[in-house]
Symmetry: C2
Subunit: 235 residues, 2 copies
């Protein structure tokens, strides 16, 4: 799969691209609600995440199955069910825009050097919004969960992912902060997600953002044939 | 809180209650969708669960806050958001009944001795359905989750609980099986929940039901002041 190809090695050419300036480079970012038109990109991002997590043996999603389950006909409003925020990047500023459910978050990032994106064509965004090219750089997929101890909903983050060439620029933090801000604005009690215990960089990053890592809880999962065995069970 | 009071010690009186018979005793059970009328009982059950999990310092729910969040005005249909199955018990058979979303599951349990329920009055059910008294014995609270690798929804179990005097009779398994059957019937990919790593009895029980316990994942939680700090964040 093209999206999983390793990036080319850095080269001197990267700093002579037209968008670079002598005094640095600005990368413009936008976080907006995804739509069904974004599914091909979301599908590629989820596959890249599976590669990173060493879990491609569990990856069964297709663009069609994602579209049918994330954006079904008569889908409930964003935030009440499965919801995706998409991170887009551009070398030119985004136009401010409105959405009845969520006003996109815009932020410029000042970098020493422009980023050479080896998958720029694959992730070219179909959404309007900037004077120049727009590239999809990451996403967060989440849905409401519920704490019975707090008697409050919260958000559970199923996936949060930034493409490799855009990492270590504060973009993952921007995705997580945007979701935390939305949860706090809605009066929700918690934002929760899971992390692999060997992913020390991610754990450090989450703790710096104020999250607790709960050491005692383990996930239990009933799936595949073990779940199907219950389908016609005479309880 | 009365519900958390320890049960009286077993006594010979327990086996001379009117509902016992020389040849054994039948306990009739029903699992049905809970309604807002069940909230006072659900509230007491959640508190008992907090006591069992040694987490009463996190317990903030009131009957009112549970009612407002589990059964809001214009609530979406069961299974599409936060949903509660209630376990009821009676010494007499339940009448078969219909619900447009879920047909209650009925099952008789043959016991050597009747159960002395020290909280029978507190947990008397307000719902019709049997010729005799009906008691609330447990519940499961769950909501849809989503696997992006499968591109399928599933169910996440927030709570599953059976009152102490009704444990070790197969009722917890009946609650979990009912939910697994519902998930399989809906074509969902997974049923997931979490367990405390010191709760060896529960882990053994779940594994016997066909569940995997995932050793590598840790829960991350952003809550309280750490979450509120994002409320007015200029991302």
């Amino acid at each position: 799969m093209a999206a999983a190809a390793p990036p080319p090695p850095p080269s001197a050419a990267a700093i002579t691209l037209p968008e670079s300036t002598p005094s640095g480079h600005t990368l413009f970012s936008r976080i907006r609600l995804a739509t069904v038109d974004d599914v091909p990109h979301i599908h590629k991002l989820i596959h890249q995440m599976a590669v990173f997590e060493r879990l491609t043996h569990l990856f069964q999603a297709t663009a069609d199955s994602l579209a049918a389950t994330l954006f079904p006909p008569n889908a409930p409003p964003p935030f009440t069910s499965f919801t995706v925020f998409l991170l887009e990047l551009s070398n030119s500023p985004f136009f401010p825009s409105q959405n009845p459910h969520f006003t996109p978050v815009l932020k410029p990032h000042h970098l020493d050097l422009p980023i050479a994106d080896p998958e720029k064509e694959i992730f070219r965004s179909s959404a309007a919004g900037a004077t120049g090219d727009v590239t999809v750089g990451g996403f967060v997929l989440f849905f409401p969960n519920y704490s019975s101890f707090l008697a409050k909903p919260g958000f559970y983050i199923e996936d949060i992912f930034v493409r490799e060439c855009y990492r270590r620029k504060g973009l993952g933090q921007m995705l997580l902060s945007t979701l935390a801000a939305q949860a706090a604005k809605m009066g929700y009690g918690r934002v929760e997600w899971v992390v692999l215990d060997w992913n020390a960089n991610a754990i450090k990053f989450y703790e710096q953002m104020g999250a607790e890592i709960l050491p005692e809880w383990r996930i239990c999962r009933l799936t595949g044939e073990s779940l199907q065995a219950y389908a016609n069970l005479n309880i």
